[in-house]
Subunit: 245 residues, 2 copies
DNA sequence: CATATTGGTATCTAAATGGTCTCAAGACAC
DNA sequence: GTGTCTTGAGACCATTTAGATACCAATATG
């Protein structure tokens, strides 16, 4: 069984560009579980020959799906259907560490990085006195170039000299100053993205997402971090292993 | 019976690299308890010969699984399936018990309660032989009279005499027959409700929900239960306490 | 203790694969 | 016409995969 028999054919009568037709075929195949996570696509050259189109066309089609986060390319290895990111809900880890552990390349785009004063609400959850200084970090998180999550963090200012101290990983920065949380409370719920959020993440408006609110605590029990993360529902799985008592 | 007959074969037609195919085969075998803790793998040289690949390829596959903690190597001795590390992060409880613990009153409305045969997909996750009988339970779960979740459960038939044995709580019924799961794997993701689901739960169509898929295992490692629960995103929070390792 | 077996490591080769580039032809909108 | 988009052909590079072979180090066995 050839690959194109599995996923469907291109239609010569269709007037849409070839690469868009191919994208549609692949998108459908992934949506209908004809292609599963980590399934390998044929090599670009083989794929092109099989479809009777040029490699350029195949690449152009794949380019789009890669930037959507549907496919993952590895030079020298091949192109694969992106596995949903499986985040372990039982382990305290940061986005950066998580992605690296999965062989994906994380990066962030800053929305803002500011100093400010605690809001009354934050002063309760962080246990700070009113008027205490905090740092705020808002950013978009990417994996292999595809947006995965929006992250809004508030940090007690005592744990680092300035907001610019955070280069990429929040937890890495906290590690350096010896203020990395060792315990956290997490709450998780399903939400609908607002239009603005959907736009930032490149998903459809009113798509489903996961809101995870985390409060991180130091060894001595002080709260140091409050983070609200909005994860793409179509790209994220949370996995937990449970045990009876 | 050769080892590769136990765990499955590699597929020449698959475009994925050989070592990844082998990883997948082994991962599945471990997940489905075809390979249990401390089971020995063939020696690398033998394994390579049996599979018709080079030792390098076998080693590369094992390298990955070892770094994931699924396998353990002992030089001069062999490679073994890692004994599972038991961690008590959360408590394995049922909807009924959960609601009672929160001071709410649970009840259910049956959508269906039937006997049937395993689907091929279920036979993999439940580790049943094809054609084995199962019970299916579909219902709406309420708390204080308000619909909270849709629950689709499949149970291996050996764990109770008939589907009618389940009155309200699935886990209570399993407790009685001594087949209550002691361990579970849960995965959780955000989804959009279908119109039908939204109607059943009394929420707006295309509202956000949480899909929780749970596989429950007995003490002896047999899988006994697969449940997919769709929780209302606006009414359900999941809370977890995490600890750094 | 000796020996065989096992995993651990290293070096080399070859092939396959994505990444990138140049050059060009045709369709279409402005 | 002019520019843009699409598609094609071909070349070359860096990386990954896979294999062959040899030898070392730890362990099991007798």
């Amino acid at each position: 069984m050839t690959f194109s028999e599995r996923i469907g054919q291109l239609d010569a009568k269709d007037h849409a560009p070839l690469y868009r037709q191919l994208q549609k075929v692949l998108r459908d195949a992934i949506a209908n579980h004809i292609l599963g996570p980590d399934d390998a696509l044929p090599a670009e050259r083989d794929f092109a020959e099989e479809l009777g189109v040029s490699r350029i066309t195949v690449r152009k089609a794949l380019d789009g799906l890669v930037s959507e986060g549907l496919l993952v390319r590895r030079q020298g290895a091949g192109t694969f259907v992106a596995a949903r990111v499986e985040k372990n809900f039982s382990k305290l880890s940061s986005f950066t560490e998580d992605m690296i552990a999965r062989g994906r390349i994380p990066h962030s785009a800053w929305l803002s990085r500011t100093e400010g004063l605690v809001t009354p609400e934050e002063s309760l959850t962080l246990g700070l006195s009113p008027g205490a200084p905090v740092y705020r970090f808002n950013r978009i998180r990417f994996a292999d170039g595809a947006p995965m999550a929006l992250e809004y963090s508030t940090l007690a200012a005592f744990c680092m000299p300035s907001p610019e101290f955070v280069e990429t990983s929040l937890y890495e920065a906290l590690e350096k100053t010896g203020h990395r949380p060792v315990r956290a409370l997490q709450r998780l719920r399903a939400v609908l993205f607002t239009d603005e959020q959907a736009e930032l993440l490149g998903v459809a408006p009113r798509d489903a997402g996961l809101l995870i609110e985390r409060r991180g605590f130091l060894k001595d029990g002080r709260a140091v971090e409050v983070t609200q993360s909005y994860y793409r529902g179509d790209a994220y799985d949370f996995v937990a292993e449970l045990n009876a008592l």
